[in-house]
């Protein structure tokens, strides 16, 4: 890692040498006080019920040459009851240069791909910060060199060189939402003898034609999801395989209808599979001139891996509603549920947020596991882990 940071600095110096000197800088700080409460009795030895936690996110950015050159830094540190959730990360630390229709980024960065709401299949560049959030939307900074080319007629092409793999962090002894056995990161090996230094590559094409947005991507390298299997003693064994993954994401925006589709095909020595998520979002906007928008979401989730799908979403339906009050305090509520089509398993969720004053924010999250069947290899471990989360955020 240290080598990469030095390389980034040298390149910044070379690329920015002799350019316009007017520099803008900006510092932001976010503090979070969080409380997670798991009301049900723990399923496994050592698990706690109450998780007070503090997090800090400092951000610093420099930009010059009219914003066509930028240096961005975003750090993160969390202190938690669970030793594994107490962690720090460099979310972003990269230099970016853009000129006319191209852009280059060097360093640790976060990139998002995809269109669906209930699952993010196509999104593969960054490792998930799995201890941070249940929905997998928090990611670890990924070392990369990215070159992006926008064309007028045939869309945008992105090329990624990803020289270093970051392992997923799993919850520790005291944590909920874990397996009976605590997975130690050091026990997870790589298929490649180069281990985390296997050189990975990715390419993505993104275009829009009228109401259709389309993305096509391919990733080659060490997978972000570990491959889980059971050995003869019924202990979980896991490693990171070398994978090839092709992803397709499409959104059709037709008035208040958003039609969404994502699918991946992944091949590796141990497993080939196909998965898709597809559905629709419809928004009733400004209902009776109240300013309130109510969106209805419906998505179908399919995964070839069946029981081994890490997300537990192998043949499920997601339904939900997004309510935006569009008031001065930007109050928003997202409620939803995922139900298995063949089993009784259901997960309900609630996410709500509201600004308090000018620089505070309140977030509420609830996840409720209901009738999880024992034959669900992954989800059955979480059946006692319904929780409520309350967060206060302060921005400086």
């Amino acid at each position: 890692m240290r080598i990469y940071i030095s390389i980034v600095f040298i390149l910044i110096f070379i690329l920015s040498y002799g350019q316009e000197k007017k520099v803008n800088d900006d510092f932001e700080l976010e503090l979070e006080a969080e409380y997670r409460y798991f009301p049900n009795e723990a399923a496994f030895e050592g698990q706690k019920d109450h998780f007070p936690s503090l997090a800090i996110t400092p951000e610093y950015s420099l930009s010059w040459n009219k914003g066509y050159d930028m240096l961005n830094f975003k750090g993160f540190f969390r202190l938690d009851v669970d030793d594994e959730r107490t962690h720090w990360d460099i979310r972003e630390f990269y230099y970016q240069k853009s000129k006319k229709n191209w852009e280059i980024s060097l360093g640790l960065k976060k990139v998002y791909w995809g269109v669906t709401e209930s699952n993010h299949l196509v999104d593969i560049i960054n490792q998930t910060d799995a201890v941070e959030s249940f929905d997998g939307e928090k990611k670890l900074g990924q070392p990369m060199a990215q070159f992006s080319l926008s064309t007028k007629k045939i869309g945008t092409f992105d090329f990624f060189y990803l020289p270093y793999h970051r392992k997923r962090t799993f919850p520790g002894m005291k944590a909920r939402l874990r397996f009976p056995i605590v997975i130690d990161n050091d026990d997870l090996n790589y298929e490649s003898s180069a281990e985390e230094w296997h050189q990975d590559f990715a390419i993505r094409w993104k275009h829009y034609i009228g109401s259709v947005d389309i993305g096509l991507s391919h990733f080659y390298g060490t997978g972000r999801e570990p491959f889980f299997t059971y050995n003869y003693d019924f202990n979980i064994e896991a490693f990171y395989p070398i994978i090839n993954q092709t992803g397709l994401d499409i959104q059709v925006t037709n008035n208040a209808f958003l039609w969404k589709f994502e699918s991946i095909y992944r091949t590796s020595k141990v497993q080939d599979f196909f998965a898709l998520t597809g559905g629709v979002e419809y928004t009733f906007s400004n209902i009776k001139s109240s300013g309130i928008d109510v969106g209805i979401l419906l998505e179908y989730l399919y995964d070839d891996r069946n029981e081994l799908a890490l997300t537990g979403l192998q043949n499920d339906v997601f339904f939900g509603s997004r309510i935006a009050f569009n008031d001065v305090q930007s109050t928003e509520i997202l409620i939803g549920g995922i139900t298995d089509l063949k089993k009784s398993s259901k997960i309900f969720s609630l996410e709500a947020s509201r600004r308090l004053g000018e620089s505070w924010k309140l977030e509420v999250e609830g996840r409720f596991f209901s009738n999880i069947e024992n034959r669900e290899l992954i989800l059955s471990n979480f059946q006692e882990d319904s929780f409520l989360r309350l967060s206060f955020l302060k921005y400086f």
Partner: protein, 257 residues
């Protein structure tokens, strides 16, 4: 009797002609206003929005806006939020179209996600303010039908009826200033029940590049809920020479950083 019929016919024709004339004159004014501002090329401006509720409590938002003028089609626009801090970096990219719905993308900086969003919600409030989305989108001539009302000391009053049925308004009464490059002075908004909903007043005008009039302030008063939103514009910059390449998904992500 014959005479009366002739007179009635003439009068009838006159009033029809007047209606046609009113319509024609209305469109001419809108086109003249459009032409008077043509050729600004591109601009960048900082915005401060002050929201005041009926008890006088205030809330503030700061944004930057970049606009690229297109002649054949509607303008391209980038808006990025600086405050409130929890939405800092949230940005939108809009390709306005003269005919049909606009293309719009939203950037969410916390997860670095770009979402194509529906532009069909025109009448909803922009960030809890008294400005609806449609009040802030670029004014293309094709978006309304017109009726000239009166001229008073160089001030031209024109009624505009939105073409789009999704608009929140039955009509708008717009006052142009003929002697100042047809700049807008006031707009009165009538809701779908044809009751006066809001009044927008443009003030602190300055002329740029000895042609383009831009307001320093726009005050929107809602007569039905007694709330008020004031938009302050500062640091107009017409000299950046922005191009299509500054209005792409990549540019949207950059501005939101």
């Amino acid at each position: 009797m014959k005479k009366i019929i002739v007179i009635a016919l003439v009068l009838g024709n006159m009033s029809m002609l007047t209606a046609q004339n009113q319509e024609k004159k209305g469109i001419e004014i809108a086109k003249a206003a459009n032409l008077a501002d043509q050729g600004f090329g591109s601009l960048e401006v900082n915005l401060k929005m002050i929201l005041k509720n009926k008890n006088g409590q205030v809330s503030e938002r700061q944004m930057t806006n970049k606009v690229l003028e297109l002649i054949e089609d509607g303008d391209k626009s980038l808006v990025a939020f600086n405050t409130p801090k929890d939405v800092k970096g949230t940005a939108t990219l809009t390709f306005t179209h003269k005919i049909g719905s606009d293309d719009q993308w939203l950037y969410l900086p916390s997860i670095k996600r770009v979402k194509r969003i529906s532009s069909s919600n025109k009448s909803g409030p922009f960030m809890g303010s008294e400005f609806a989305f449609e009040d802030l989108s670029s004014d293309e001539v094709e978006k309304y039908t017109y009726k000239f009302i009166e001229e008073n000391d160089g001030l031209l009053k024109v009624e505009q009826d939105p073409v789009d049925p999704k608009s929140g308004y039955a009509r708008r009464l717009v006052t142009y200033n003929k002697n100042k490059g047809y700049r807008l002075e006031t707009i009165e908004f009538y809701d779908r029940k044809n009751a006066l909903l809001k009044t927008l007043i443009y003030s602190d005008y300055r002329q740029y590049k000895s042609k383009h009039w831009r307001p320093g302030r726009m005050t929107m008063t809602n007569h039905q809920n007694n709330k008020e939103t004031t938009l302050f514009f500062s640091d107009y910059n017409f000299g950046l020479e922005l191009s299509d390449e500054d209005f792409t998904e990549n540019a949207l992500k950059r501005i939101g950083n």
